[in-house]
Amino acid sequence: MLPGIGPVNAIAVLFPIVYTLEVPAATVMILFAGIYYGSQYGNSISSILLNVPGTSAAAVTTIDGYAMAKQGLGGKALAMSAIASFIGGTISIFFLALFAPKLAELAINFGPAEYTVLMVFAFIALSSFSQGSLLKAIISAFLGLAIAAIGIDSTTGVSRLTFGMMELYDGIDFIVVVIGFFAVSEILIMLGQKESDQSKMQPLTSLWITFKEMTGSLATSLRSCVSGFLIGVLPGAGGTIASFIAYATEKKLLRPNQFGSGDIRGVAAPESANNSASVGSFIPLLILGVPGSETTAVMLGGLISFGIKPGPLLLETSPDVFWGLAASMFIGNLFLIILNLPLVGLFAKILQTPRWILMPLITMLCVVGAYTINGSEFDVLLILIFGLIGYFLRRADFPLAPLILGVVLGDLIETNFRRAMIYSGGDVIIFFESNICLTLWILAAVSLLAPTLINSIQKKIHS
């Protein structure tokens, strides 16, 4: 649950060890897969309890998770996060086992034009993250887009917004943005509060989820699992976009809701989508040899060293790796829930730690986390700068989730739009040609109109 010290680092560190021990490849893959979403859940803990998402995918969980923690419902949020992760993770494994080769085709058919439309769809989700003023959400998203533009532009090789600083040539890591804007600004806000307010804020009440809450979140978890899985299959989209879209969809679909101020379904949706997306991302890795995320990229490197080449031949040449992985993910999921549910109460006790111990500890985690990403002092400086900006934004009631969305989407939407335009010779018709594009446009339209429609239908029913 250290921010920044995510699965990528864990796997990279373990790799040389297992290599020397001459562990069979299938076992190694299983170990890596276990780490992969073990740390995924660890990240939810810090998101919910401390408002410190360890990865960009967990940023959405902070919205309702941390709101619940502030109301003393941190235990419930943690338990829901574990259950939703389990549902998302487990069901998606069945999708993986049943449809892997078929879904690989989806990844192939998803070209730059399709990605561009998917990003437009994700941007429409933006309106769900505006707590009040839509203008503020848009400004926040544009700030994110500006951060995303920093670095060398891959389409032309020109460097942008780097001010001649070599540290900025590669752009800014998501985690740095997330730690800065969420965690550091949170510390600054805590500093501004009186000790007495703080202790009142988080009394621990019930840890357990009621039957009603469970059944209420079940449908949310299932829907988010399906959408998360499909987005996870697309290399490049991944868990962050999956969690944002799932949250936004549920917020629009469910009426009434308290999304944004501590709705338990606001925890279930991103957590289920996130886990199911990480299972989905194994499809392009194993069937196509294309890593869909940083973590799967490290795994790819690892597998190759063992003489196993993920790719179109894997299912034929090394079925043991594929099926071993599917089975291990299932077992891993089961263990996660068995281990984590009884520990929820213990984790939630973190909140009872006095502030004078907790705050320096979080600060230390942030600095260590930012430093370990690239071993760069510059990143540490950046989290402090972002923390300050984030502090003022939050004081002025700017929502931060759109900013993260902007950072994640900025690069994707831009490069894919330009790729598509190069293919078509500058003709926008390319965005309306394929069935996938058309489906996504329809979904986008529905998501834009759904809240108004549902509202008017409900009014009719009531009147």
């Binding site: 680092n9 060398i152 590669d170 290399p235 080449k309 031949l313 760069s376 293919y423 010779g425």
Partner: protein, 330 residues
């Protein structure tokens, strides 16, 4: 009576002398060694540090103790380059992973003014040769077909690759086109993707016309019969893809080797530089490395010491010339 301060100084001096003496003994073999991978975990540079350096050098007993691997990503290797030149210029126990990408970036002068002569080049111990491929149903049957299309209708011939514009995958196509007598290199329609794998999807889906990458990225797809390799940019055919013709066989004398190797800081002693050359030569010639490199899709490629320094210099010159012609560099 001696003051406490003096006795502390005395102890410190004594320790320093002892340390220096120990260092003198260690000169026989590098100890406390470190390899900097100028990128994050999982990439080619990381592999170069972890496998041939830390693992094989350690197993063969060429260094004392274990080698630490430091990932220092940033500016496409530029951050590590600047770090080594400015802060570690005389570190006798440091080696740094390098590849064709390092040379390409030096050629394009994007390492904030640092030159190839600011470090010493030790050697290369393997290479991933370039390759050009198309979909199995493509209208292009030979390299000549593709080059004709690039000449006649460059805008309609989309070529995809995993490097950014001006990067190594792009440069390979440009060097090839240059050799084939295409004068307007700017008209060549190269589309950049995040990595070789995602670029390959563009070929499998037939959205793009041709793929430029390294052989290791293609082997599995070729075996499965999804793609056709038009040419490999190697001096000879490669056992992994025996039916793929070299560009040279087809009349285009172009070799594109993404070599993997090392450089060391400039101001180390000649004796230590020669030791590093010797160590890398031994690793390159070992059976352990032969096995590991083949598993990782690398072909044999050996060049050491002075030869390697000249080779890198030549590559940098070539990249500089093409990049200037194309306006990537002023």
């Amino acid at each position: 009576m001696r003051k406490p301060m003096q006795s502390i100084l005395g102890i410190l001096t004594g320790t320093a002398i002892a340390a220096t003496t120990m260092l003198g003994v260690a000169m026989a073999k590098p100890g406390n060694t470190e390899c900097i991978a100028p990128a994050g975990a999982g990439g080619g540079w990381d592999f170069t540090c972890r496998v041939p350096a830390a693992q094989v050098m350690g197993d063969m007993g060429l260094i004392n103790g274990t080698m630490a691997v430091t990932n220092m990503s940033g500016a496409g290797g530029g951050k590590a380059y600047a770090h080594v030149v400015t802060k570690r210029g005389d570190d006798e126990n440091l080696i740094v992973a390098a590849s064709m990408a390092t040379a390409a970036r030096l050629g394009q002068n994007v390492y904030s003014g640092f030159k190839a002569s600011d470090v010493r080049w030790v050697g290369a111990l393997g290479a991933d040769y370039g390759a050009i491929a198309v979909h199995k149903d493509s209208q292009f049957k030979t390299l000549g077909d593709l080059i004709t299309a690039m000449k006649d209708n460059p805008r309609r011939t989309a070529i995809v690759g995993g490097s950014s514009a001006g990067g190594w995958d792009h440069l390979k196509v440009l060097i090839l086109a240059d050799k084939a007598g295409i004068s307007d290199l700017k008209a060549i329609n190269y589309i950049s993707f995040d990595n070789g794998g995602t670029a390959m999807l563009e070929i499998l889906s037939k959205r793009a016309d041709a793929f430029t990458g390294d052989i290791s990225e293609l082997v599995e797809y070729e075996k499965k019969g999804n793609i056709r390799i038009l040419a490999i940019l190697a001096p000879d055919r490669i056992p992994a893809v025996p039916s793929a013709k070299t560009a040279k066989e087809q009349g285009y004398d172009v070799i594109g080797a993404n070599w993997r190797g090392f450089y060391v800081p400039k101001n180390i002693s000649n004796a230590r530089y020669n030791e590093w050359v010797d160590i890398v030569t031994k690793v390159a010639n070992s059976s352990q490395w032969a096995d590991l490199s083949a598993k990782n899709g690398l072909a044999p490629f050996k060049s050491f010491g002075k030869d390697f320094e000249n080779f890198v210099g030549g590559q940098i010159g070539k990249v500089a010339q093409i990049s200037t012609d194309l306006g990537f560099m002023k």
